[in-house]
């Protein structure tokens, strides 16, 4: 019974380890005067798959961060 539990844990843990090679996109959104802009929607779309990979909103300091992005080329929109 114990050995069965261990093997399930190993199966579950493998995908998590594989994510260590993923990339992060981050930045700060300002207006023309340099003041930070909170609440801006940032979307990232993978070009090779046309999948909308991530959608985040800038925080009160205008910062955004998208972790765990697949490597490759992306199109981004700030709106």
């Amino acid at each position: 019974m114990i050995s069965a539990k261990v093997s399930v844990f190993l199966l579950l843990s493998l995908p998590l380890m594989a994510q260590t090679s993923l990339s992060t996109l981050r930045g700060k959104v300002t207006d023309q005067s340099g003041a930070v802009v909170p609440g801006v929607e940032v979307t990232a779309e993978e070009i090779s798959t046309n999948i909308r990979a991530r959608m985040v909103t800038t925080d009160h300091l205008g910062n955004y961060e998208m972790p765990d992005l697949q490597k490759g080329r992306i199109d981004c929109a700030w709106s």
Partner: protein, 142 residues
Amino acid sequence: MKGFKTFVAEDIPLESNQTKRVDVALQVGETGTEVTVSGAAPVIETEEGKIGAEFSDRQYKDLPMPGNAYSSPIPVLVTMAQVQTDEGSYSVYFAGQGGSQLDMGMDGVKEESMNTQTVNMESVEEVKVVAVNNSAEFSRVG
């Protein structure tokens, strides 16, 4: 965002195990109008102290080598920045550190005992060397 034009950056390249910064200055204008830029992302690494280089499958296919005579990733390493060879021997150095300090991983999974000669470059999409200031989860140069 109301009162600002939508800012679109196309074709931002993301390498594996990389943190990229894209700062945006929104322009005042009607919602629904767009400002589009291409290749806006910085080429140099500004977020981390990491120094690394990449070798893609496309570069491998373009190499003027007969067949797949050099099918292991090891020979392509020496074409990358920060990797040196010792003249007259088969040793490889990463930013001055010997090959015995090398740590390899595949798809992000660390491989302590992987025999790299058995990995065929034909089935590898990208080789990345991080010689300096690697992330904490990779204990040595990678």
